[in-house]
């Protein structure tokens, strides 16, 4: 953690319809060391509106990283991923697919649509915590993100 990074918290957009998972991730992040702001959307349409600052999300911040669940109501995760990666203004934002599906076809489809990485949610809390920590360490600390973060 550099002093420079401490200036502004990392903006994270979590697209997840399960409030249990939202809460769990929020709790784990709170226990963690990184300074981050977690924004959540429950479905793909809303997430897209958030990213494009439309509707009630006028003035929303542009997230530094997106955590994306695939199983979503309305526009599903794959649809959202496709919309993000085919939008010139959004495609640079790294998308971490975080889903409970271990199906081969989901993994291949996600990478085909330029997901930045694919992580299956583990059943075990310890493992889940480890994974969230790893995301923090890698994506929020090691990786140089676009926009100088």
């Amino acid at each position: 953690m550099t002093a420079e990074m401490m200036k502004r918290p990392v903006e994270i957009l979590l697209v997840e319809d399960n409030p249990g998972d939202v809460r769990l991730i929020r709790e784990i992040l709170r226990e963690g060391k990184s300074d981050c702001l977690l924004h959540t959307c429950e479905d793909g349409e809303e997430a897209l509106a958030f990213l494009r600052c439309e509707g009630r999300h006028v003035g929303a911040v542009s997230p530094d990283i997106i955590l994306l669940d695939l199983n979503l109501p309305r526009k599903d995760g794959m649809g959202l991923l496709f919309a993000i990666k085919s939008d010139d203004r959004l495609k640079r934002i790294p998308v971490v697919v975080l889903t409970s599906s271990e199906a081969e076809r989901d993994i291949l489809a996600a990478y085909d649509m330029h997901a930045n990485c694919y992580i299956a949610k583990p059943a075990n809390l310890e493992q889940f915590i480890e994974i969230i920590r790893a995301i923090e360490n890698f994506w929020l600390a090691i990786v140089k993100l676009p926009g100088g973060k």
Binding site: N18, N71, E102, A103, K121, A123, N124, L125
Partner: protein, 577 residues
């Protein structure tokens, strides 16, 4: 059937006796005619000639005698001496036997004999005699009779008779014998000819009978065939033959087929008609054969599926194209195929549903379960030690239950995916999946100190990933259920009949006979939870993999005697699931 009785043995040919009977009168006639007729005619003609000569002589003598008569009309009868001169001249010139002069009353006046001085022989009235009247003033005053010698004529006639008899007899014999000889030779030929004809007739009888038998057999065969055997002219579609079964199969009398050209064409199902007609047209054009399946309407309106085997041929005689075919009723088969197709559709739909279920289970069922397990663990993490001992224990049970359920779901998925997520079969050298499986089990093998040995494994048609899982589960099981003494696992295969029989043998704790079947069922475990944490899916997955490869799996074992797991994989591919 009794042609043997119909033709009798050939009659002995007796042309000779027939001919001999017919020839006898002819031959007799010829013999008689020649031996008698010839000399007789000669004799008669000769006799006639002699008589004529005698008459001429008599005339000439009478003429000469007329001078004597003119000289003395009254006494000429008595002046016989005057005759002597005439007589001498006369005899000198002719071979006259006897000469008499008779008066008007027929009394002999003078008689002369050729040899003078001798008493003349008696007058032979049978000898050729010529008469001549001595006329004077238109009055017959006497008669001259001349008798010529008959002896030379009779002698010649006798000689002629002799010769004619010989010639006649010879000729008759020839005429009799020659035809008989010819006939005798002909008889032999005729007999040979007749026996040839007989033989030929027997042969042709036999052939005809054989042909009849063959034809009746063929007819019975054709008529008995459970199919419509037919023949028709390709141009007019007029049927020349339709077997009896047509009536049974389609219900129309055969006579209707024969009477109506294009009979079956008019009864083809509308959906098939165009296809069938096109096929027939092409076949007629190319004079080729084909076979086709289509529907015909039977007499009672029922739909009958027909498989039609059609052949085109050209009649050598008339040059017209003929069609012949066999229509087989395949309605039952078609029905079966439709049922099968429906079942296949059901099956593939149910497979798709199962796959959908598997996906749902992997995603939607795991989701809430993960919530339960995660939050129970979060509680444990946050409140461990802050509750009493019982509270901690309860939390531990909840966590264990959730974890276990998660594993069950995952195993269930693994099991269902053997069928739904398998790869296409390809030739696989079984050494590769075995080595792969042993690599995956490396840690367990090292920890247990097991010795795994194997002999060369064959190449089979299969799914390498699943075969790896199969070996891994079987060897893994052996390790898991090892005994206290050092574990030895042996893997091998040999060809039995048309399939490879693989085995995985261990010297572990073994299995009691009553569990041989149960161990291959899903979630059936023989061990309590404390001993191992398995869900009992391993062997069920093995069974499913082996069955997908067209084989069987079974176990031979006894408690404390180790176990041998056998499974088979066919040499040749039998098709995937």
């Amino acid at each position: 059937m009794s042609s043997k009785d119909n033709h009798t043995e050939p009659q002995p040919v007796d042309l000779r006796s027939y001919l001999s009977r017919r020839l006898r009168p002819l031959v007799a006639g010829i013999a008689l005619l020649i031996s008698f007729g010839f000399p007789a005619s000669y004799c008669l003609i000769g006799y006639g000639n002699l008589r004529h000569s005698a008459s001429v002589y008599a005339e000439s003598f009478a003429e000469k005698l007329k001078g004597v008569v003119l000289a003395d009309q009254a006494l000429w009868k008595y002046q016989t001496y005057k005759y002597t001169k005439i007589r001498d001249d006369f005899f000198a010139a002719r071979e006259v036997m006897q000469l008499r002069v008779l008066d008007e009353l027929g009394q002999v006046i003078a008689g002369f004999w050729q040899v003078d001085g001798e008493e003349p022989p008696a007058w032979n009235s049978a000898a050729p005699i010529g008469h001549a009247a001595i006329n004077f003033n238109n009055r017959t005053v006497g008669t001259v009779e001349v008798s010529l010698p008959i002896g030379p004529l009779l002698r010649v006639t006798a000689l002629l008779f002799l010769i004619s008899s010989i010639v006649g007899a010879g000729l008759a014999t020839l005429v009799y014998l020659f035809p008989l000889r010819v006939v005798r030779r002909m008889e032999g030929d005729i007999r040979g000819l007749i026996s040839n004809v007989e033989e030929a007739r027997n042969e042709s009888d036999r052939l005809r009978m054989a042909a009849q038998a063959s034809e009746s057999r063929f007819r019975e065969f054709v008529q008995g065939l459970d199919a419509i055997v037919w023949e028709a002219d390709a141009a007019t579609w007029r049927f020349s033959f339709v077997s009896q079964q047509a009536e049974k199969i389609l219900g129309y009398p055969v006579s209707q087929w024969l009477a109506e050209p294009r009979f079956p064409l008019e009864r083809i199902h509308a959906e098939d008609r165009e296809r069938v007609l096109a096929c027939y047209q092409l076949a007629i054009l190319e004079e080729s054969g084909f076979q086709l399946e289509y529907r015909l309407f039977a007499a009672e309106g029922r739909e009958v599926w027909i498989q039609d085997f059609v052949r085109l041929s050209r009649d050598e005689g008339s040059g017209s194209a003929q069609m012949s075919g066999i229509m087989v009723d395949i309605t039952e088969r078609k029905r079966g195929e439709q049922v099968l197709a429906a079942q296949a559709r059901d099956l593939s739909r149910s497979n798709a549903e199962l796959e959908q279920f598997a996906y749902v289970a992997s995603h939607d069922l795991q989701e809430p379960l993960r919530m339960v397990s995660s939050y129970v663990q979060l509680i444990a993490r946050r409140y461990q030690g802050r509750l009493d001992r019982e509270g901690d224990e309860f939390i531990a049970f909840a966590v264990e239950g959730a974890t276990r359920m998660q594993r069950l779901i995952r195993d269930l998925l693994t099991y269902s995916r053997v069928g739904t997520r398998g790869h296409d079969f390809q030739p696989v050298d079984c050494m590769l999946p075995l080595r792969h499986a042993l690599t995956n089990l490396q840690l367990a093998i090292r920890e247990s100190g097991a010795i795994v040995s194997f002999i060369d494994l064959p190449t089979v048609l299969g799914d390498a990933t699943q075969l790896t899982q199969l070996f891994q589960n079987l060897v893994g099981n052996a390790i898991k259920f090892r005994d206290s003494h050092p574990l030895q696992v042996q893997v091998g295969a040999k060809l039995v009949g048309y399939e490879w029989r693989f085995w995985v043998r261990d010297n572990g704790m073994g299995i009691a006979t009553e569990y041989f079947d149960r161990i291959f069922l899903i979630f059936q475990r023989l061990q309590g939870r404390t001993r191992d944490a398995g869900t009992g899916i391993g062997l069920a997955v093995c069974k499913k993999i082996v069955e997908r490869h067209g084989g069987r799996i079974w176990v031979e074992s006894a408690p404390d005697k180790g176990a041998i797991f056998y499974f088979t994989i066919p040499m040749l591919k039998r098709g995937g699931p």
